[in-house]
Assembly symmetry: none
Homo-oligomer: 211 residues x 4
């Protein structure tokens, strides 16, 4: 099974699912975008839904792995939050299409396949909640509601994949720093922003997403 062809299929699916939605993407669109006949497509995937699930699972598993690594050596809650935000910004900008699929097409999953993906997403969001909770416990954060804060923060950060363009005026580092700043403001951080080191996050990103 030619690995490059499989990648082409996957990449085509990510692009089309992201821009037209799962239900808005036909098998024939997919085949054309991948440069194959629609019959050949089925050498590289199971059903259309299998392909969607595989994209989502892969994306979320990488994200969870990266989030765990990036926070494992950070004891300070503010530091953990900052790293999570930076990681999220990096991935939602540079893997813009993939993350849009993950965030936006969960409803297209059948009842049989949805739970798996939902639980991966929940596992990821639990890492954020835990960091926020710790920050509150230590008095470093003062959000009006911990849960609402998590939801608002995640929506704010995920939104990047919906508008980011590599042609824009900001580097990813720029963007990450700005989002960390906004995040801490949003969370009612008591102290001014400490100096943010992006290197640890960049390293993890390089390892997890690099080939």
């Amino acid at each position: 099974m030619s690995q490059t062809t499989e990648r082409r299929v996957r990449q085509a699916a990510i692009e089309l699912f992201a821009t037209r939605g799962f239900h808005g993407t036909g098998i024939r669109d997919l085949a054309e975008a991948a440069g194959l006949s629609s019959a050949t497509l089925y050498h590289y995937m199971g059903t259309k839904e299998d392909l969607l699930v595989s994209i989502m699972r892969g994306s979320l598993e990488r994200l969870i792995t990266a989030a765990q690594r990036v926070t494992s050596d950070a004891s300070d809650p503010l530091d953990r939050i900052s790293r999570l935000v930076a990681l999220h910004v990096f991935t939602h900008a540079s893997q813009q299409l993939e993350t849009r699929v993950v965030d936006g097409e969960i409803r297209a999953l059948s009842d049989a396949r949805r739970p798996e993906i939902i639980s991966l997403r929940d596992a990821y969001e639990a890492l954020w909640q835990s960091a926020i909770d710790d920050g509150c416990t230590r008095g470093q954060l003062r959000p009006s509601s911990r849960r609402v804060a998590r939801l608002a923060l995640l929506e704010m950060c995920s939104g990047i994949s919906r508008w980011y363009s590599p042609d824009g005026p900001f580097t990813l580092d720029d963007l990450a720093r700005r989002y960390v700043e906004m995040a801490l403001g949003l969370l009612g951080a008591a102290d001014p922003l400490p100096e943010l080191k992006l290197e640890p996050v960049q390293e993890v990103v390089a390892v997890v997403w690099g080939d």
Copy 2:
């Protein structure tokens, strides 16, 4: 043309487009949800896309009207921002399905119909940008980037329609106040939050969305 039937069709469309997406909703689903035959449906709508456009236009026009009214008698940028956030929260929570359609199904529009909706959305967002810009000019806000701040803020606020449940622990007023607080933090408001009066916003909402 019975108005209640037309509303039933509209309501069914809002519910289905919001939960399954435009492409995931069939004409037969729509007809069944509205209690009509699929042929009868066409007495109350043009094409499926016409129905989508009409929902989006109606929603955005009401939103723009409300935003203009709510900010027309507020000269202080912080006040305008706060009112916009409160209004946005009110509508994205209480008109959750409708706003989800507006925010999420723009990509389903044909090239011919998209510009109209996009320009309505842009008009609405321009009111936010203007308030943010004014706040910066007056030195009341210090976001790292005015444009990024608008995008981040709007994503944060719109996210409510994706998770809000009326069974949750917060009243709409609660939620609005919390979001205003987070918004000002996100924007780097220099001064502490002044007392927020929700009455003007509530009045406008009652007028614009009341029947």
Copy 3:
């Protein structure tokens, strides 16, 4: 739902399923034979399998009803057997295509639908077995095995639908008499064939299959 069109669909299905088999018949063949587009077909049927099941069920239910009526007023086992054979011959010749479908396409049914049809078929065959058993008990029949006799007899009689042609040299009455004769020989009937009256069978056939 135009009843004549529905009948045309049914008739087309019977003809095609009988001559090409269920799996050898395409939806497009069906549509063409019924004079419809393949989409319109679906106004008059559920799935292709639904159509098959409905044909089989209808055919078997009529057969069971007729068999019960034809034997209800015959106490003599030989008489019952003779009537069953005559009825079977009548239907398998005049409803040749339909019975061929019932007898030959059971294997095409999915596991979910097969049991219903199988139990109808079993109910019908039980009427035969009971008549044979009674004949043996009374000493009128001497087959070497009751069960094998039933199987052999039914196969012999059902075979008619596979070769009968209305252009052949025999009338249905002729054929029925000959088969009754062969059946009693096959079953080892002790006494010579009593005079066979076909009228009761013909009446039942007229009622059950007449419109």
Copy 4:
């Protein structure tokens, strides 16, 4: 070309064609049942239809050969009939799947290939007709119609392949004797059944089907 692999393919085809029908059997099913890839399958067969034809031809040729041998040294028509019935029973029970394919899938043949198989089948049935006719001429049989008798008799005997199970209560010898008995009854044999010797039939079967 490994002969055992070829046999595996053939055996898989016989099993699947018999249980699902020719049109109900896919090339992939065939490949899987034979433990090959679908491409490799084509080293051992021509087209799917070639495989069907080859199975049918082989089966019918063996049957004709055996029928000729078994009747060649029997001058008495009743003896010939009895031997033909016994042979038919033996083969339709022990080669149940193969004979089911021969009897049931002729309609799946294309117009180009059907005549060959039909003429083989006709040659075989002619042997039966000839024996029946001779029996009638000599006054040993009194069927009401010679042709109908042949058709009824063959259907009765062929039916065995549709219900026989080696787990059943009868040995093949048993079954053969019972069928001969029923056959003579069906044909209106004037005299009681003479002693039936199965040995000549068994010998021919051993030679023709033995490996």
